[in-house]
């Protein structure tokens, strides 16, 4: 196949990129990125709209018109891309944080050499489209294997030079990291109230609204006031902000002595000294927690009750949701209770004997 036949793939390829750019600019409401940012603010939106229109018109001409008109569209596209490359270099020098605006709101990466190189590659491709004389639809109708291979290779190069693909992938396949994602407080509160940890400790808490709410990366923490064995306590819950079954942790602290009475199914030392922790923030296993064994029907006197059953149900998927940090051995609440005092749904913090000698709070769910 001769080079003249191979460059027949350039008009549809350039038209495709022009159409994508025009569509992305048309739906972008932010505007103002890239070379448009060099203009006064009042001209940003009109200039962005005009660029989108120009790109769309050139794409249509490259696809539909053959001969001199198609060639002229190709030369115009080449000029547009070459001018864009120069302007992007100016933008990069003037405002290093500015994005290129090439694909509207998808272009959030600051202008870099990849973006400028992409404009240059497209300018060369548009020269090829001009030499081919347009007629992109005809070329597509008679597409050969060699032309398809050249087009695929060219698209691969353009993909490598396109930071927008990464952003599109994040938008389509996933969300931002939980540490930077905004999550409404009411959603965290709803998740907390659906958790077994909340139900097990509900009796400790006064009222339904937290007295303090704060955020720590992927966790939202909520403090409630309450009473336990007649003493004022602070019940603090931590709700993870990722996954369908977020982990929930709880700690109860004496409001006057500030001794941590119970946390995560473990009993704190008298005086509230922090328990040994792993690097992932999870408490290390101590003698007060018993890893969950095979499902078994608990004897009524052992008091595993609903909470134990809920923990059994939550076992599998939860482990899959926790890629970072070691897992906490799930406590079977009540398994080590002295004398089998606690039982059933009351197996939470509320059933403890007093400060510094409480029962297990609960575990992750």
């Amino acid at each position: 196949m001769t080079p003249a036949e191979l460059i027949q793939i350039q008009p549809p390829l350039v038209a495709l990129l022009l159409l994508l750019g025009a569509a992305a600019k048309a739906v972008d409401r932010t505007g103002g990125g890239g070379p448009v940012s060099l203009l006064p603010g009042a001209l940003h939106r009109p200039a962005s709209a005009a660029t989108a229109l120009l790109e769309a018109a050139l794409a249509v001409l490259l696809l539909s018109a053959a001969g001199p008109v198609g060639a002229a569209a190709g030369w115009a596209a080449a000029g547009l891309f070459a001018f864009s490359a120069v302007l992007l270099a100016v933008v990069r020098r003037r405002d290093p944080q500015m994005n290129c605006g090439c694909f509207g709101g998808l272009s959030t990466e600051p202008v870099g050499w990849r973006t400028i190189a992409r404009a240059a590659v497209l300018a060369v491709a548009a020269v090829g489209a001009a030499v081919a004389g347009g007629g992109g639809l005809q070329a597509l109708a008679g597409l050969t294997g060699a032309q398809a291979a050249v087009g695929a290779a060219e698209l691969a190069v353009l993909a490598v030079l396109s930071p927008e693909l990464r952003e599109a992938a994040v938008r389509v396949f996933g969300r931002e990291a939980c540490a930077v994602r905004r999550v409404p407080v009411r959603r965290s509160l709803a998740r907390l109230r659906r958790s077994e940890v909340w139900r097990a400790n509900r009796v400790v808490v006064d009222g339904t609204d937290p007295v303090d709410v704060w955020r720590h990366g992927c966790w939202r923490l909520m403090r409630f006031t309450g009473r336990r064995n007649g003493r004022p306590v602070d019940a603090v819950f931590a709700v993870e902000l990722r996954g369908r079954r977020p982990r929930v942790r709880a700690a109860v602290s004496d409001a006057e002595t500030r001794v941590t009475l119970a946390v995560l199914g473990e009993v704190a030392e008298e005086g509230g000294a922090p328990l040994p922790r792993t690097t992932g923030g999870a408490p290390q296993a101590t003698g007060t927690v018993v890893p969950t064994g095979p499902p078994a029907v608990p004897a009524p006197s052992e008091g595993a009750g609903d909470e134990g059953a809920e923990q059994e149900r939550g076992g599998g998927p939860e482990g899959a949701e926790e890629p970072g940090g070691p897992r906490v051995p799930r406590a079977r609440v009540g398994a080590h209770r002295a004398g089998g005092q606690a039982s059933g749904p009351s197996a939470g913090i509320s059933t403890g004997n007093g400060a510094g000698a409480s029962k297990a709070s609960s575990s992750d769910r």
Partner: protein, 317 residues
């Protein structure tokens, strides 16, 4: 919202581990702030929260009051920040007098003064640009129009800051047209950027106001769902900083000096979120503001307040 930051840190450590909320560093003994009550060529007496303290000058002691000066230019009544040499608290290595800074978005400007909005929770500040520094300021801040960013260090005089040094190069667009941050699939546990300083006491009553002595940080990515509140005007910082609340602790290391410290988040740094700049006099090319430290904390890490920033690595969340 009234916040007990110590209680928050205690509960966070109890639930997420000590690594997630390490205890904050105490004040550095080498850094002192107060009001100069007596000064000679060889000695300085400073009124601090703990009473009067005396310090000695050496031949190598340097003084700053808008520019490098001598001890005779430091006046009684000046708000002074002292960094002592070595590990002791006797001999002054460097002294700064009447430090002031104006950071934020320009609200209005006339011939030689600009009014700057530092973001919610802080009062507007007036920066006077004296003729002797106007050329230097014009190079780094060419557009003194409403909406554009402003950041300069200077000398506090009668409630205004007479700017002497521009801290950054002004972005060539209004703050409202900041480009969006690219989405972050992952947030690194340690991030590189720059750290600046702010003065929660605004240079007033440095001998009695505990805010002048606080060692803490203002953080540009406060959670809008809790502390930032409905009046929150902060924008998305250009670094993917984890969302935190007041009371969280962040570990900051000065990349130039290697000194590090852990500081509680005490305030919102909404103005810092609008900057995505580099530190001109720091090594490395990291950009984006990680935090604003209070003056004692900034100086304890080896920062030079007259420069305004240093390259840093921060672990948060």
């Amino acid at each position: 919202m009234s916040v007990d930051v110590q209680e928050r840190r205690r509960f966070t450590a109890a639930l997420l581990g000590e690594d997630a909320a390490p205890p904050p560093s105490g004040p550095a003994p080498q850094v002192v702030r107060g009001v100069a009550v007596h000064i000679t060529a060889h000695m300085l007496t400073v009124a601090t929260l703990d009473g009067e303290e005396r310090f000695l000058f050496e031949r190598t002691t340097s003084f700053w009051r808008g520019r490098d000066v001598g001890p005779e230019d430091v006046r009684v009544g000046d708000d002074v920040l002292v960094r002592c040499g070595g590990t002791g608290r006797w001999v002054v290595d460097r002294l700064w007098a009447q430090l002031g800074r104006v950071t934020g978005t320009i609200v209005s400007a006339d011939e030689d003064a600009v009014v700057v909005d530092p973001g919610h929770g802080r009062p507007r500040a007036v920066a006077v640009i004296p003729y002797r520094s106007s050329g230097r300021m014009a190079v780094r801040h060419p557009v003194l129009e409403p909406g554009y960013l402003f950041d300069a260090v200077g000398v506090r005089e009668r409630g205004t800051v007479h700017t002497t040094v521009p801290v950054t190069t002004q972005p060539p667009r209004p703050a409202a047209r900041m480009p969006r941050r690219p989405p972050a699939r992952r947030v690194p546990s340690a991030q590189s950027g720059i750290v600046t300083w702010y003065d929660p006491a605004f240079g007033r009553a440095a001998h009695t106001d505990p805010r002048a002595h606080a060692c803490g940080a203002a953080y540009p990515a406060l959670d809008p769902g809790s502390d930032c509140g409905p009046a929150c005007d902060r924008s998305e910082p250009c670094l993917p900083l984890p969302l935190l609340s007041l009371g969280a602790t962040v570990a900051v290391r000065n990349d130039d000096t290697g000194v590090s410290g852990v500081y509680p988040v005490l305030n919102c740094a909404s103005a810092a979120a609008r900057f995505c700049d580099r530190c001109r006099e720091a090594s490395g090319d990291a950009s984006g503001r990680l935090a604003e430290l209070t003056l004692p904390a900034f100086t304890a890490l080896g920062g030079r307040p007259e420069v305004g920033c240093f390259a840093a690595t921060m672990e948060a969340g």
